[in-house]
Amino acid sequence: MKRWIRKISGQDQDLETGLSEEDSQETVTEKGAAPEHQAAQAPRYGLFKRLKEQMGRTRGGFIRQMDELLTGRREIDRGLLDELEEILVMADMGVGTVQEILDRLRSEVKRHEIDDPEALRNKLKEHILDLLEVPAEPLEWEPAPFVVLVVGVNGVGKTTTIAKLAYLLREQGRKVMLVAADTFRAAAVEQLETWGSRLDVPVFKQRTGTDPSAVAYDGMDAAKNRNMDVVIVDTAGRLHTKVNLMEELKKINRVISQKIPDAPHEILLVLDATTGQNAISQAKLFNEATGVTGIALTKLDGTAKGGIVVSIAHDLGIPIRFIGIGEKMEDLRPFDAREFVEAIFSS
């Protein structure tokens, strides 16, 4: 992140895209005043209207500019870089990461490694795919009982994701049990139970207000006794900044491993695609507390793109396992990086 805050001295310093000094002198052609400057001088007729116009313009503008750039052998100008940046930042990829990607692209254009519009588009996608690439063991769901601990902040979709996951595993013919260790939120146990009966999957529960690690502990016994293949532990939503609640989570994690060596086998962090830069902090702190092994990205059926996972996968080396695309039990998909990147560029 610091990398891109570096100083730009010299005459091209109004390139807000963070070009290196060398780049800015050799390949950037300034075309008139900066758009922001124009905006400052234009009469301010409804900001709302302007916003709408600009939003509508984004996609078409991007493709057009890119084609123009390459067919016309135009130099990369500020307008194009802005458009690229806009798409990526608006997908919540975060300014730092976006800058890194644009830097790479820029030097490739400079070295003439890219010479047609299709190639530029593909190169950009390749770079994002690169960042998403995380060496990780695939989920094999064994040895039995394979324990999945599901964690995340409030309301991201943990319980629903568990129901979806249980459905998926049950369809594969596995014996699945759910453990209701969200003993804090009102009616959280009932919520999981309702899913359990819809899915015809057993739910291990104790009373609301019980110590969640006690529930997890006894839940492991129940799973072993009933010869379960997979057991999924639901936990209360907690903000990653709450030290005592993160300690509670560590304890849940600990008692599970006491009962079953090597368990939990998967610690699944649920992230909401609507979340912006804060998801980085979530991933970091949950990872520090429990050692997250996979991410489920929910609510991709909305208009949010969830681009923040690009940084998370890259910086923390945590693989994205699943995406959630709705509220029904069938609405879970394995994460497909290519599909995900395509979606960033679709409107």
Binding site: R50, V95, T275, Q277, K305
Partner: protein
Amino acid sequence: MFDNLSQRLDAVFKKLKGYGKLSEENIQEGIREVRLALLEADVNYIVVKDFVARIRERAVGQEVMDSLTPAQQVIKIVHEELVKLLGRHNQNLNLAGRQPAVILLVGLQGSGKTTTAAKIARWLRTRGRKPYLSPADVYRPAAIEQLKTLGAQLNIDVFPSDPSFSPVEIARRSVAKAEASGHDTVILDTAGRLHIDEELMTELKDIKAAVDPQEILLVADSMTGQDAVNIAKEFDRDLSITGVVLTKLEGDARGGAALSIQTVTGRPIKLVGIGEKLDALESFHPDRIANRILGMGDVLTLIEKAQDTVDRKKALELQKKLKKDTFTLEDFRDQLRQIRKMGSLEQILSMIPGLNKMKQLKGLAPDEKELIQVEAIINSMTPAERRNYTIINASRRRRIAKGSGTTVQDVNKLLKNFATMNKMLKKMRKSNFKQFPKGLLPF
């Protein structure tokens, strides 16, 4: 953690030490830093563009004042504009008109509507109203149950909804029931929905038509990213919302969504949620959120947080001890515990303006693991040792190290730091003791 804006601006403007006017050229880099800070705070890209243009316009041509550095001057402008934008409306709930008044809560899945419904009910009751809760989320499993439980906890009546009723029916009947039973405010909790789900958005329009709410509040998560503009725009277009409740603000989100939503809808943020407990609801403070968006160190939040978690009596005792000469290892341990309750040390430090930049603090402030270790060491001491550390000789050190699973070096290091700290405290007692927030240990 990114450096805060004021330090970044300071660096950029260092060469601008002289006098004269801020010009298009010499504020360029500064403006870029402002832009970056806003984007990092999740303010929408296009909203940032417009906002920054306005900042540029205001900054250019200003005299560089004697009293402020150019960096401070730009920040002042940015801060003022933010507060102006965020605080230009009346933020009170408007419950005048036909009674019972109706408050309709809407928003995406998981944004915090149900908890907020209960919080608002409690909030209104403490302000003399007679609230009635109505659960109209018939879709999410156990959502009705959730509100019923919260109502019971608060001892506030809840309409006996059932998932087999239609939401519009629930809305209509609960208003009638509230009126009949002498309640003056109905708080209607609805299912979370996507702004692009036409069917469910129509359902909300139908509810609105059926009960004509005085307030339609969009409940939005403060961690929301760029999409906040789309969400807010759509909900506002379909329902003409009257305001916004920003939730989960006790975390470390920068809260740029507040600015995005305010800009695209022009609707005021009326309340903020700052915790899971039912009394964790506050009115909105534009200046605090402005600080936060700018990453300027939210001292107020820090102090609140300290007051929240630090045992007040203990804090007072400690305050006394610090002022006198009796600060012992036992007090030190208490203090460590309080700090650990508040959040990670790094996070706390980052909330204090000026401190977050001091690199040397990094080494000075023990990290989480060290804190645990330090506590273990102190735990292994006898009460006498804790009260007077000077009696801890070599053999005692060995025993303590063994007892706490640490090394003699670790014990030495702690004792040395503690001695240094005591010296510092002594110095501070003489000079400006007052500048530290209550109950916070000056590392």
